[in-house]
């Protein structure tokens, strides 16, 4: 601070920062990217460890043995599902009652804002069935949830059957300290959302759902099961939840520990762990796994039923059975034992899971990158914006200083009025509001006038407004205040830079991946923007194109590359899914992009056409 209170030294420092601004910025950007890519390198990451005492030291002995019975139950369930043409509610109620559970049902309905073409649904009506295993001598204050979605068609029968088999086995044990809720939900995420809202008596997403009659206190943890075949080769753990929330790392550790104990192959992001970290392939593998996690987290949607629990401070994860690695097989009994072990350890918890990390990235199941390690990567990118802002500030202030030093104080260069900055800011944000509101509200009109379906109407309206926004601001700005001055765009850029820095900083705190991806694409272009820059470069690095690139990279990473036209179709469905996720589950990525990031980008776009 002595540095700043001494005016001459301060001058030297600012001089250094302005003179070397561009090199420093470039170095920071490269360092940020390199730092981020280095996170996947094994020697730089930490080994995962169980932090929670109650789960670490106490070992449990798994005795579940009715895996075969579960598989035959799956066939029975399948037959009843076919007969009922949907969820066999009565059969499930009877099956749970005969296993000694207290059974309740909840019916719900939800009209989607526009039809979901991926899953072919518009008006959704369904029923959730759940049974509560009351723990003996427990006062109904704590509960665990095991959920299995009742999916259409042939999928997930084994999960429901295993759930029932586990219920039967658990019912005969006396060691439960927490009630256990066995939930079979219809219409996957919509059912889960309706049940959670019913359980917590909230209504944030306009569901019409019946109230719940049976409750079991505050839910401590939840596991979601997805099994679709009799033989499982590996289990995949899904952690990414709504808005990029993650469950406590101890839950992942617990899963990993039991996979190790029972000799079950386990994957994350569908990728097995490799031991050759020192080879190029080994590093690429880890980097791909981590990149997949970053992309999934950034898109802010729930990648399984567990994702919706996280909002209610319930640690949850999905366990997904995968049948692909041919040479290795795990039977249903082992999977039942794995779940039994996990549930028993969760039952031993004295407090909610809180000891371990909530913010992390996983390059593999046994290695993790904590917030302290990945934040500098983002910090290095974000500091560029501040450095540029400082540079602009100094430049803007310099002529004024010269005027004070000079003899004539009357002829100051006319400082740009508030209006010149305010106009583009307001117009950009109004465009953002239009982008947020109009697509869903104008769909009926669009369907009337154009030969498109509702979903296409919504997506195309969004793209149209996005493109129209590119034409709007600079024209109006010029109309209002005539020819822009040099000073004018600099002030605007300064404002926009600081605005973007705040936006990205806040986003990265909540959802690091989203903040980082936006920073990677937005920072270079916004830092270097002048009215002389090519518009094409600017467009290619706009938020919409960022989404497009992410789609391609994601497809590349999951080893299902797509052609340009398929990629385009995927891009359209990603947009419609994003809008639907916002309406159905309260995902915040769409409003964030439409109401803040896009207007902010438009402010920079404005500078491009200043003269």
């Amino acid at each position: 601070m002595g540095l700043l209170s001494d005016p001459s030294r301060r001058k030297v420092l600012t001089g250094l920062l302005t003179r070397l601004n561009t090199p420093i910025c470039i170095v920071c950007y490269l360092a940020g990217i390199v730092w981020f890519m280095g996170l996947a390198f094994e020697p730089f990451t930490l080994r995962t460890y169980m932090s929670e005492n109650a789960m670490g030291s106490t070992m449990v002995e798994e005795r579940f043995s009715s895996g075969e019975r579960a598989l035959s139950l799956a066939k029975e369930f399948d037959a009843h599902k076919r007969k009922a043409g949907g969820m066999p509610v009565e059969w499930l109620v009877k099956a749970m009652q005969s296993r000694g559970l207290e059974v309740f049902t909840q019916s719900f309905s939800r009209k989607l804002p526009f039809p979901d073409e991926n899953k072919e649904r518009y008006m959704v009506r369904g029923t959730n069935v759940y049974g509560i295993l009351r723990a003996p001598r427990a006062p109904r204050t704590e509960a665990l949830v095991i959920t299995a979605p009742c999916s259409p068609g042939n999928t997930n029968n084994q999960a429901v059957a295993l759930l029932l088999a586990l219920a039967q086995y658990f019912r005969n044990q006396i060691y439960w300290a927490k009630d256990i809720i066995f939930l079979v939900n219809e219409h996957d995420l919509i059912g889960t959302q309706a049940w959670l809202e019913g359980y917590h008596h909230t209504n944030i997403t306009e569901y019409i759902s019946g109230s719940l009659r049976g409750r079991a206190g505050s839910i401590q943890a939840a596991l979601s099961l997805e099994l679709s075949s009799d033989v499982i080769t590996s289990l995949d753990l899904v952690l990414e939840g709504l808005n990029g929330q993650l469950p406590n790392l101890d839950l992942a550790n617990l899963f990993y520990a039991f996979c190790q104990k029972l000799g079950v192959l386990c994957t994350i992001q569908g990728k097995l762990q490799r031991n050759d970290w020192d080879t190029a392939e080994g590093y690429t593998h880890a980097a791909q796994t981590m990149m997949l996690m970053v992309l999934k987290q950034a898109c802010g949607r729930s990648w399984g039923d567990h994702g919706l629990f996280l909002r209610y401070h319930i640690e949850a994860a999905s366990v997904r059975g995968i049948n692909s690695f041919r040479h290795y097989k795990t039977d249903a009994t082992t999977i039942g034992r794995l779940l039994e072990g996990m549930v028993r350890k969760l039952n031993n918890l004295l407090e909610r899971l809180h000891q371990s990390y909530f913010f992390y990235l996983l390059p593999s199941l046994s290695r993790f990158v904590s917030i302290g390690y990945y934040m500098p990567a983002f910090g290095l990118l974000a500091v560029i914006l501040l450095l540029r802002a400082l540079d602009l500030w100094v430049h803007l202030g310099a002529p004024a200083l010269a005027a004070v030093d000079g003899v004539t104080e009357a002829e100051q260069p006319s400082s740009p009025g508030v209006l010149t900055v305010l106009t583009p800011v307001v117009i950009s944000h109004l465009t953002g509001v239009a982008l947020y509101l109009l697509p869903v509200h104008l769909q009926e009109m669009a369907v009337e006038h154009f030969p498109v379906s509702e979903t296409e109407a919504v997506v195309l309206t969004a793209i149209a407004i996005y493109t129209a926004g590119l034409a709007l601001p600079h024209n109006t700005q010029r109309l209002l205040s005539g020819e822009g001055t040099e000073q004018g765009w600099k002030v605007l850029k300064l404002t926009a830079l600081l605005y973007l820095a705040v936006l990205l900083g806040c986003t990265a705190l909540i959802n690091f991946s989203l903040g980082f991806i936006l920073a990677v694409t937005l920072v270079p272009i916004t830092a270097s923007i002048t009215p002389a820059l090519y518009a094409l470069v600017m467009v290619l690095l706009s938020p919409a194109f960022t989404i497009l690139y992410c789609v391609f990279i994601y497809q590349e990473l999951i080893e299902a590359p797509v052609s340009v036209s398929e990629g385009w179709m995927l891009f359209l469905s990603v947009i419609s899914q994003g809008i639907l996720d916002h309406a159905l589950y309260g995902s915040l990525v769409y409003p964030l992009l439409a109401l803040f990031i896009y207007p902010c980008w438009l402010m920079f776009w404005n500078i491009l056409f200043w003269n």
Binding site: M1, L4, G100, R134, R137, P139, E142, H200, S218, E351
Partner: protein, 562 residues
């Protein structure tokens, strides 16, 4: 009866000065419709004496436990009710219990109206009881004690209803185990050596779905004229055994399977010792072995029940009494039922929902709802709503005492009319307080408990009740005095709540201390420096040649160069 008399006379002969006292014991076994078995023990000691009479010191104890008697007289207690329960009574599956109790520990005491320092007496009493029952009752202090104005009336003699002399507290977190059972058993005249108490093997009692033990002390009338006072001590123990887990699916049950003991004799000090088996539900499906010729009827909780009675004081009862083979059937839904939960998410606000069900098909009746909420949930009482059948239901009586931070909890009592066959929902919003860091429990992430709310009601009865107090009633049907023929008193407890409060990360206090100290030191220091320093324009120092010239000029005494 005959075998008992000589003993009593003999004992009376030994202690001619002592007042009359007697001891009764009783076990009720009721198969529940969920397939569980409810076993309820009651032990009653009656003593025709008065602890609280001026100038009379009671020093000779026979059947009445001395430890409790001394406590009563020292603290001028008029009525004392204490219960310890592990588990939650599932009213919807099990119906009403004979004596209800909330999960954890509950203590309510009426003090005599001569007591001047009620709070002081209460504090000492809880500590003494804590020692007697080996429980954490010493955690009861003013922050969790309330004085309900209407919900807890004295159950014994006396009509003083000034609630200044009443104290009520619950500890929802209290865990009940063998160390609480042992002192409780020691209060019995026969201990666990003889009589029904032989069955109380803790290994089995705690291998159950529900366990509750209680002590109730109150003054009652000595006879029907009620000319003088007698003291009654009731010890009750209620257990629900889970047929599903330990029965391996077979619905067969016996005393030996339940308690891993059999009965061999009655307590020799007991004037009556009986086992009742509820055979009301479909008696022809029951097969009791040995069969008993004695059938008893009792009206309890608005329902006429039929019981097989085994009198342990008769010699012929013994011999078998080993196994009851029971077949079970559905039961009436409970007329009154209540549950409670916390709604909402996040750590800032929330909403407590209490749902009360009236399952009576055509009768409406009023209930008293009592809620005692700890101060760290700051209730927004203006958000209190009561709705029945989606219409506003205005309570006819509301008594609300707001909390004082760190001193006393909220107390909310309401008289609500429940329409027939309806669900009434009481909601109130709250804000979670930020505690001081020393106020957190050692396991703050477990959450903080809010005790059960209490619903007390006079429920319309399906059958006529007997109002006259006669001696030959079974103990389980005579605890709460019946004043009307057409209704009976029921108390229902809801489940306790577990609420999470905003909790700092205690695992890194060192980091936090270091970080904050550094930030404060660096930030404060430099800002203080900047703000207090006076700035001056720095004169550029003159070049060396000029300085040399000036030096020479000074020596010569000529004016200096500027």
């Amino acid at each position: 009866l005959d075998s008992r008399l000589p003993l009593v006379i003999f004992l009376h002969a030994l202690t001619p000065a002592a007042a009359r006292d007697e001891f009764q014991e009783e076990l009720v076994i009721r198969p529940l419709h969920s397939g569980d078995i409810y076993a309820s023990f009651q032990f009653r000691t009656l003593w025709d004496t008065d602890f609280l009479q001026e100038g009379q010191k009671v020093s000779h104890y026979r059947l009445f436990p001395k430890s409790l008697g001394q406590v009563l007289s020292k603290f001028s207690v008029r009525e004392l009710h204490i219960s310890f329960s592990q588990g939650f009574w599932r009213t919807m599956q099990w119906g009403q219990p004979f004596i209800p109790s909330p999960p954890g520990a509950e203590l309510w005491v009426w003090f005599h109206d001569t007591v001047s320092d009620v709070d002081g007496n209460w504090k000492e009493l809880t500590n003494v009881l804590s020692g007697i029952f080996c429980a954490s009752l010493n955690f009861i202090d003013l922050t969790n004690t309330v004085q309900p104005s209407a919900s807890f009336k004295p159950l014994g003699l006396g009509n003083a209803t000034d609630h200044r002399f009443l104290r009520y507290a619950t500890l929802p977190r209290e865990i009940v185990c063998t160390e609480n059972l042992t002192p409780w058993k020691k209060l019995l005249p026969c201990g666990s050596k003889a009589g029904l108490a032989v069955l109380m093997k803790s290994e089995k009692l705690f291998h159950s779905s529900f366990h509750s033990q209680a002590v109730h002390i109150r003054p009652i009338c000595q006879d029907e004229q009620c000319s003088s006072k007698a003291w009654e001590l009731r010890q009750t123990l209620n257990v629900v055994f889970d047929l599903h887990t330990s029965g391996q699916g077979k619905k067969e049950w016996s005393l030996f399977k339940m308690f891993s003991r059999t009965l061999t004799e009655a307590c020799p000090l007991a004037s009556s010792s009986k086992v009742y088996v509820d055979i009301t539900d479909n008696p022809e499906l029951f097969e009791l072995s040995p069969a008993t010729p004695l059938l008893g009827q009792a009206v309890v909780l608005g329902d006429r029940r039929t019981y097989s009675v085994y009198d342990l004081s008769r010699a012929e009862t013994f011999g078998q009494l080993r196994s009851f083979n029971l077949l079970l059937r559905d039961m009436l839904r409970p007329l009154l039922h209540a549950e409670r939960y916390v709604a909402g998410f996040g750590l800032q606000t929330g909403e407590i929902h209490t749902v009360i069900y009236n399952n009576h098909p055509y009768r409406a009746f009023p209930v008293l709802l009592m809620d005692s909420v700890p101060w760290y949930l700051q209730l927004y009482i203006h958000t209190l709503t009561v709705t029945s059948k989606s219409r506003d239901n205005k309570p006819s009586y509301i008594h609300y005492q707001p909390a004082k931070d760190r001193h006393r909890p909220h107390l909310l009592e309401m008289l609500i009319q429940l329409p027939p066959h309806s669900m009434t929902e009481v909601t109130v919003q709250f804000e979670r307080a930020l505690l001081k860091w020393t106020e957190y429990t050692p396991d703050p992430n477990h959450g903080f408990y809010v005790g059960s709310s209490v619903v007390s009601a006079l429920v319309p009865s399906m059958v006529a009740m007997r109002t006259n107090f006669t001696q030959d009633q079974p103990l389980f049907s005579s605890f709460v005095p019946v004043k009307e023929e057409s209704s009976y008193f029921v108390r229902v407890y809801t489940e306790p709540l577990l609420v999470n409060l905003p909790t700092p990360d205690f695992s890194m206090p060192y980091n936090v201390i270091c970080l904050t100290c550094t930030v404060v030191a660096v930030g404060y220091g430099s800002f203080y420096n900047l703000l207090t320093r006076t700035f001056q324009v720095d004169e550029p120092s003159p070049p060396l040649s000029k300085r040399l010239a000036n030096l020479i000029r000074r020596i010569r005494g000529v004016p200096l160069l500027t």
